[in-house]
Amino acid sequence: MKQFLRYLNVKELVRPIGQMLAFSLGSAAVMSAIILVLALVLDKTAVGTALVNKLNVSLFSYTLSNLPQVVIDGLTIGFVYAAIALGYTMVYGVLQFINFAHSEIFAVGAFVGVEVLIFLQTLGVLSGASVFMAYAYLSLAILLAMLAAGGLAVTVEKIAYRPLRNAPRLVPLTAAIGVSFLLQDLIRLVEGLTTGQFNRIIPTFGNFDDRITGKMTLGATKLFIGISVKSIIVIVAAVLMLVALNYLVNATKVGKAIRAVSQDMRTASLMGINVNRIISITFLVGGLLGGAAGLLYALKFTRIDPFIGFFPGIKAFTAAVLGGIGNMTGALLGGIILGLLETFAGSYLGVFTMGAAGSEYKDIFAFSILILVLIFRPQGLMGKNVGQKA
């Protein structure tokens, strides 16, 4: 044990957890403060009056009482985005290439995981499972989802991207769009042929739907805090993966090779690094994370279809760009911020605009952020400004 601990780089285990805590609490605090100030300001206007007339509650206490739930939901989805965003950002770091098909890697993970659980359900082991066994089954499903997605990512790279590595930038991007479309319909085809339908619902088992609730009084307002077990699972699983990934990249030999390849592929190969193998590993790691994120997403939202990857994919890409593409810490920060922003917008936009625009605009919210970031800070929040070379 001591021997093992000596080789373990404890700093690289603690540091990412610290970052996640700081990013989560910081972003949540900043956004909560902004929304509360906004609520206070709008309380005395027509917006506030409209709400009083409708729900008989002031805008400020409405905002405050919903806030804990919004923050928790935002963080949950934010961690899922972060896990997907890491797949984009790692591949971009190594190949300067937007892996458009990453969203379908995610979807495949979701489908494989859900199908495993459905299969277990038909065996009859799920319904009466003890809490411990329920978690074991879920872990098994996540593991298989990860393996399938990781394997697929590596295969796609070998078949569709590797031949195009030296082509102009838009060529592999176009191929990746093709892979994305192909995979969507392949999932649909396989699901359609084997199960006769392609909307799948994750089986209910274990204590995942339970909610842990708490109550808290703040002045005149009563705050109800509820967090479902599955949200906790999503967050814990994502945190574990992110810590593992950080350890892999920053404290192992393979990680050093990945970083070397992303700095300069040719020099790295001159230093004896097998670039093809490192690129495969990068896709594998991105795929593993994406696959797990897929099943976590399915657990949270219960229902999946073959096109499920599109919006989470675009949003995770936005998160990667927001944080500074190619930068792993940036992807984490970007995911958390985007998840929170989106949930805040989805929850409050309707009330704050008196119903003119609501959560239906949630999905294009990410695009607006993407465009704003690209215009005003194309290197992202944590990226470095790199000068153009003539």
């Binding site: 838009l170 093709g178 479309f181 042929l193 119903g355 465009i371």
Partner: protein, 446 residues
């Protein structure tokens, strides 16, 4: 090696009168086949591929134009009216050819990967859908709650005016959307344009409140068409009803008319593209595509040139949008999803980026695959399901085949495969673009 030898053999064959003979034979045989077997997909393929002969075989240009006009203006409409399905196929080919040619200006000449091209198509379509329907009087009703018998805002013939308005509005939209993002690198631009495409679709879906501009997911209908003078129908009937075998109805005549409109737009796009391509503007576009840093060092204002390409491409899509709204009399947000954008992009890439004949071929091939081959395959599978046939070796009864296996619904698979295969094996497309050879000598000026 095989490819070059094939080309050599083809060139050896393709001399003298051979071209004339092949073209005429192909057109006549194709027309006869479609005429005698109006339900055969194969006959239609033979017929429509005569356009390929017309392109590839050598003949005098005047002869080619004559045959081309005969095909486009007489034979295709007549055959189309005999079998309305063919007219639909041909109309869709021409619509997609026009859209692909428009996108080709942006992707092919200027090298900007636009993944949200249908946004401009939607702008044109919704423009005429709003002004050419009763929607103006529905503004204050939630979808589905409006009273019947509302008047139309504008007469149907305002369609012609809106062709022009749509060109302008779509071009302005293109510039406004392009302005903030033109400095972005190519792949970022691609994702942002994708975003714009989705934004427009989501807006169309949700702008039924606070005021009902788009009627939401239900879409807008009925949309007016321009009036068709009776004498046109009569004239057409007096000329062709003998060949067709029955009198043509007004509705079918409209389809012929919209086919002609689409044809006009195609001709206009080819005209504009060719002339711009062979000028200061076209050279600047290509220079920007090839190397932005070198282009700007030649004094080319790249942002302005890119915006111009964006605007020109957008304006054609806007024009086609008006045409679509009028011809279908119904539009909804789902006609403008991401898959449409990728479909048009696939056509451009399959045919050959930057190549006008290539892009038209790409549009034709994919539309035919979509409408005829995939659907034909679906029908065939359905027939098999109805029958008692069994696959011999594995002893699988066709009727047990899942109804999910419906090839017509797997367009994405098709588009995806085409994009991947073309990028890996033939990124320049079926008919690669060629640079014009100039015949110039120094002493010409003396």
């Amino acid at each position: 090696m095989a490819a070059t030898s094939f080309k050599e053999v083809f060139d050896k064959l393709n001399q003298g009168v051979v071209g004339y003979v092949v073209i005429l034979l192909h057109v006549v045989a194709g027309s006869y086949l479609v005429y005698s077997q109006p339900r055969s997909n194969l006959a239609f393929l033979v017929f429509i591929s005569s356009l390929l002969s017309l392109y590839f075989f050598r003949a005098d240009n005047r002869f080619k134009i004559l045959v081309g006009m005969l095909l486009a203006l007489v034979i295709i409409p007549v055959i189309g009216v005999r079998n309305i399905f063919y007219l639909e196929v041909i109309f869709q080919i021409s619509v997609f050819a026009a859209l692909s040619l428009g996108l080709n200006i942006v992707v092919g000449f200027t090298g900007l990967l636009n993944l949200g091209y249908v946004a401009f198509y939607a702008v044109g379509a919704y423009l005429w859908a709003f002004f050419g329907s009763q929607q103006f009087y529905v503004l204050n009703y939630a979808p589905g709650t409006q009273p019947p018998d509302l008047p139309f805002l504008l007469p149907g013939d305002a369609f012609y005016l809106f062709l022009l308005v749509a060109v302008i509005i779509a071009a302005i939209t293109g510039i406004l959307l392009g302005l903030p993002v033109m400095r972005l690198k190519g792949d970022y631009l691609a994702i942002v344009t994708l975003g714009f495409g989705e934004v427009i679709r989501v807006l169309a879906n949700n702008l039924d409140k606070p005021i009902n501009l788009t009627n939401g997911p239900q879409g807008i209908t009925p949309i007016q068409r321009p009036t068709m003078p009776e004498w046109v129908v009569d004239l057409f009937n007096s000329l062709f009803s003998g060949v067709i075998g029955h009198d043509v109805k007004l509705a079918d005549m409209y389809n012929v008319m919209f086919y002609f409109f689409a044809l006009l737009v195609i001709i206009a796009i080819i005209f504009v593209t060719k002339r711009l391509d062979d000028s200061k503007i076209g050279r600047a576009w290509t220079a920007v595509r090839e190397d932005e840093i070198a282009a700007v060092a030649q004094g080319i204002p790249i942002v302005r040139m890119k915006l111009l390409a964006f605007a020109v491409g957008a304006s054609f899509a806007g024009l086609m949008g008006v045409l679509l709204a009028a011809s279908r009399t119904f539009i909804s947000p789902e006609s403008f999803n991401f898959m449409q954008s990728i479909g048009v992009l696939s056509m451009v890439i399959l045919g050959g980026i930057g190549s006008i004949p290539g892009v038209i071929l790409g549009a034709a091939v994919l539309t035919i695959l979509n409408l005829q081959v995939l659907q034909g395959f679906s029908l065939y599978l359905n027939d098999l399901r109805q029958s008692d046939a069994v696959i011999p070796v594995i002893n699988f009864a066709w009727k047990d085949l899942s109804t999910q296996l419906d090839p017509a619904k797997y367009q994405k698979l098709l588009f995806g495969l085409i994009l991947i295969i073309m990028m890996i094996f033939r990124p320049e497309g079926l008919i690669p673009a060629k640079r014009r050879k100039r015949d110039v000598s120094v002493d010409e000026t003396k």
